[in-house]
């Protein structure tokens, strides 16, 4: 990460707070389906937005801060699932970041969500030591594609509507 101005840092902090709020509120919603691991993943809107608006390094910082703080609120084993899913998602987003254009940001989110679900299932298999849990992988991937498409389009819309308010480059 290059030199981070106070403005940039503040902006990252605000984005982290937004992501954390979304994450905590979403955790309070009842499960969408009686299948472990299915959720909207709305907090990923912020991650995708940050990758494209601020750059991968700062997005990683926001993502890690959100996962660590979010797991504090959620408690239990959440941190393992969130970390594995979040890192898989981030890596895939990073690879695609170079490959997609401004109108294809949703692709990052879809692929990232699938990677997130795959990472989560891997942790679930490791923790329960029961390969039978893998039966849920295709269902989670379907949900990942659909929710990833939704959050990706949200992020893309946000990026196109917030060009000036995005990364603040002016002097503090």
């Amino acid at each position: 990460m290059k030199h981070t101005s106070l403005r940039h840092l503040t902006y990252m902090a605000v984005l982290t707070a937004v992501a954390l709020t979304i994450f905590v509120i979403e955790a309070q919603l009842p499960a969408l389906a009686p299948i472990p691991g299915i959720k909207l993943g709305l907090a990923n809107i912020v991650t995708v937005y940050a990758v494209f608006a601020l750059g991968p390094g700062q997005a990683a910082g926001i993502l890690l801060a959100r996962i660590l703080l979010g797991s504090l609120f959620a408690g239990g084993m959440t941190i393992f699932y969130s970390l594995a899913g979040g890192l898989c998602c981030y890596l895939v987003t990073l690879v695609l970041y170079k490959l997609v254009g401004g109108k294809q940001i949703w692709v990052c989110s879809v692929m990232g969500a699938m990677a997130h679900n795959a990472g989560q299932i891997a942790v679930a298999v490791a923790i329960t030591r029961t390969p039978g849990v893998l039966a849920y992988l295709p269902i989670l991937l379907v949900s990942g594609i659909l929710t990833g498409l939704f959050t990706g389009l949200c992020a893309q819309f946000l990026l196109s509507r917030l060009p000036k308010a995005g990364p603040p480059n002016g002097r503090p």
């Binding site: 499960a31 009686p34 299948i35 472990p36 239990g76 084993m77 699932y81 490959l99 997609v100 254009g101 109108k103 294809q104 692709v107 879809v110 692929m111 699938m114 679930a124 923790i127 329960t128 030591r129 029961t130 039978g132 849990v133 039966a135 849920y136 992988l137 295709p138 269902i139 991937l141 379907v142 594609i145 498409l149």
Partner: protein, 126 residues
């Protein structure tokens, strides 16, 4: 940079493959009537659901609290869980589904059939 069409086709293909696999998993039926309870990967209890005449329930203790497992003739469910998300409770009764009941906080998995010993017995009797 690939065209948007490329990505749409790629993701549509992925979606179709995953949908097909999901339908196989959700619609899949096992011939077995034996429920296996795993906790942390270890088989803790085996119940032949076809042999159950009187409904009964028991409690399984796990790292995050307890699950109450209810058994009736031919079906099994988690009727109560200490965890906040209650995913395993909402999964409801299973009788011959391929997809197992999973309680991640308590590392509890209830699966019908699918254990190696089960296949072995089937192989011998079949």
């Amino acid at each position: 940079m690939k065209s948007t069409k490329f990505w749409i086709v790629l993701i549509a293909v992925l979606l179709c493959v995953c949908l097909a696999a999901s339908i196989l998993v959700l619609g899949g039926k096992t011939q077995s009537t034996t429920a296996h309870l795993y906790q942390g990967g270890a088989l803790v209890r085996t119940i032949d659901l076809s042999q159950v005449n009187e409904p009964f329930s028991f409690t399984v203790e796990g790292p995050a609290g307890s699950n109450t497992v209810q058994v009736e003739s031919g079906r099994i469910r988690v009727s109560h869980a200490d965890c906040p998300d209650q995913v395993c409770v909402h999964q409801g009764w299973i009788s011959n589904s391929v997809a197992p009941i999973v309680c991640l906080p308590n590392q509890l998995v209830i699966q019908i059939g699918g254990s190696p010993s089960e296949t072995e017995i089937d192989g011998v009797s079949g």
